[in-house]
């Protein structure tokens, strides 16, 4: 794997490999010293064209726990506002020779484009309404831990599917892992043709009790101005996941940040069914796994980066055996 551009390009085995790697890293987060030197001396550049505190800090934490150097580059207040193109920005930043660029943009396909312009490993942290692959991976990880496995599970994704990159990546990822996916929401916010991805489409929550997992999407306020919905009140009446709609054995997920009282009622956010904080925790370990996978290249199956990789180098526990040759050659 050279880049992580979309879930679309990962098969089940690859998803499982990343999730398994994340499980190994989970132990690091519980240590007193939450750090391993696996990516020491590597540089991860966070290039964010959209405001994002959560995803960016999750990537930052992940990189730092692997001892990588992190540079954050926010598009606002930079040369981008002076009219620099995406390509020129990427070429300029590439001069610093980052090993990985974590990229978030409001434009579909931007991560793939950037991967053609520079030698760094590109991690798509959200490209417009297209994909958000690390979110899907962390959601798979969270659910596997919660349910043991998701083969055959029924997962409902509820809300603003049209504007959600999380929905797109998750529809694909959950199905690759053997789940059945149903999307439900207001007809104005379910894109025409989405069923081509293999999911079922519903406009009511009548059959929601059949779901094993309820995945609520964030309802953005600006959708009201664009007449997708008459009011938040009406949305909540038809689609809010609340104590009445959520069954005791259902798992509740949400990509955050939650609008309490809109897509979720306060009671369900705080309920034991909610896996929302587990998702945030999973975010760091899954992103560690992704960065590790991309920056250390294919490794022997079962190798444990949290343990000394080379018995002869106890002073550098976790350092890849021969960094020079193990590193994927970056053009």
């Amino acid at each position: 794997m050279n880049h992580l551009l979309s879930i679309e390009e990962l098969d089940r085995a690859e998803i499982e490999r990343i999730v398994a790697q994340a499980a190994r890293f989970a132990e690091v987060s519980d240590r007193e010293i939450k750090k391993v030197p696996a990516l020491r001396g590597r540089m991860v550049l966070n290039l964010f064209y959209e405001a994002s505190t959560r995803t960016r800090s999750s990537f930052e934490l992940a990189a730092k726990r692997l001892s990588a150097d992190v540079v954050n580059f926010a598009a606002s207040g930079s040369s981008v506002e002076k009219g620099e193109s995406l390509k020129d920005t990427v070429l300029t930043l590439s001069a610093h020779k980052p090993d990985a660029i974590v990229l978030r943009t409001p434009w579909a396909g931007a991560a793939e484009l950037v991967s053609k312009w520079c030698g760094a490993a590109i991690v798509n942290a959200g490209d417009g309404k297209h994909e958000h692959p690390t979110q899907a991976l962390l959601d798979v990880y969270t659910l596997q831990r919660r349910l043991g496995g998701i083969d055959g599970a029924s997962i409902w994704i509820v809300g603003d599917v049209a504007h959600s990159r999380v929905a797109r990546s998750n529809i694909i990822a959950f199905q690759r892992m053997g789940s059945r996916v149903t999307v439900a929401g207001p007809p104005t916010l379910i894109p025409r043709g989405i069923e081509a991805l293999g999911c079922e489409v519903r406009y009511t929550l009548e059959d929601l009790p059949k779901a094993d997992v309820v995945y609520a999407l964030r309802m953005q306020h600006e959708r009201m101005n664009e007449s997708f919905l008459p009011s938040l009140r009406e949305y909540a009446a038809s689609y809010q996941i609340n104590g009445r709609r959520l069954g005791p054995r259902q798992v509740l997920m949400h990509p955050g940040p939650v609008n309490r009282g809109v897509e979720l009622s306060g009671e369900v956010v705080d309920s034991p069914q909610a896996a929302i904080t587990a998702q945030v925790e999973a975010g760091v370990v899954v992103r560690m796994a992704v960065l590790y996978e991309l920056l250390t290249g294919a490794r022997e199956p079962g190798s444990d980066p949290t343990r000394p990789a080379h018995p002869g180098r106890p002073d550098h526990p976790g350092l890849p055996d021969r960094p020079e040759t193990n590193v994927k050659q970056l053009a």
Partner: protein, 447 residues
Amino acid sequence: MAAETLVQGPAVPANLMLSEAHVLDPRAGIDARHDVRVRAGEIAEIAAPGTLQAAGDEEAIDASGRTLMPAFFDPHVHLRTPGQEHKEDLETGTRAAAAGGFGGAIAMPNTDPVLDSAPLLRSLRDAAAREARIPIGFMAAITRGLEGEELTEMAELRKEGALGFTDDGRPVRSAGMLRKALQYQRLCGGTIALHEEDPTLSKGGAMHEGAVSAALGLGGIPTVSESTMVARDAALAGYEHARVHFQHLSCVASVQAVAQAKAQGWRVSTEVTPHHLLLTEEDVRAMDTRMKMNPPLATEVDRKALVDGLRDGTIDCVATDHAPHARDEKEVPFEQAPMGTTGLETAFAALYTGLVLPGVLELGLLIERMTAGAGLFELPTHTIAREEPANLTLVDLDGEWVAGENGWESRSENCCFAGRQLRGRVLLTVAAGAVVYRERAFSVVAA
């Protein structure tokens, strides 16, 4: 008056002797091998193969095994002049047209500034008289600045040589405004050409709305954005007995709306582009910005309806909607990229390869549709007949090439067919009696 409305740069009338060409002009009823003599830019003789000898001042061209057609005519190109010469100018655009076998073209007025006044049209025609390699004509805007608020001085623009009027690139949103333009057409004449799109439906769209846009998370443009406007404006044209031309049809519902309008006897005509005849939303999946155009590539059902419409005459002609954009403008994420693809240099070969070779369309019919655009704007149609001005395209139908392999004549390279293996090479183009293009490898003359 019509003949003078095209302008061309300085050109030397040709003396040519094309021997043993397969001459194919369905309109003239010719489909056989002939010798064709061009003298002083006019077709002087059409005779049995091997019977004519080149005179001393004539260039002898061995055309055996090659097909001689009337030069194509493109009623819809963007030459980007004035204001956007970094994309294309009159010289590069018409050079691209000549290389594609076109002997005439009509430029759209969505320039910067917009071609909406007689002085600007005059200066452009002056520039064309210096720079245009093939004869070109100009459309003027329907509304000032394409803003849809006030009519342009249509009568004065017509006197200055405007072939007709269009706000191409944008629809005329207001039915009331369009109706006034249609009424005014009774005074000044000129075909009114319409880019049909309902902006309230297309807003935020980057491609056709359907399975692919849903998968890519791109804003979709529903086909009803076009077809409802075609139906509205056809009805207006019928009501006002006006003459309208629908530009770049893209979907089955629009073809049906035009068919119904024609059945009513309304004076409507329409065009279709090579890319809408050959490509679909599936070609957008890789988010290649060369596949981003307006109207967007739709479904296979739509594509087939367009091919059928072209075959049965519901669609009158092929137009390229040649829309050059600079590399840095297209080298951006899909949603940010401007809409448009170049098309002049690939039109014939793409359609020949994609539709004629597989047996979907007959070659004669394709030639007819690639020359029919002129008549829709009251211009003479290129014909291979004695005493006609020589408007000829010599094609090697077996010639294989990869689109863009040797670069482009156009200043821009945003061609949706770039990299495709094509059959059918234009070897020579004669426009208004002058040789305007000669394929590099085809410089060897018979003797």
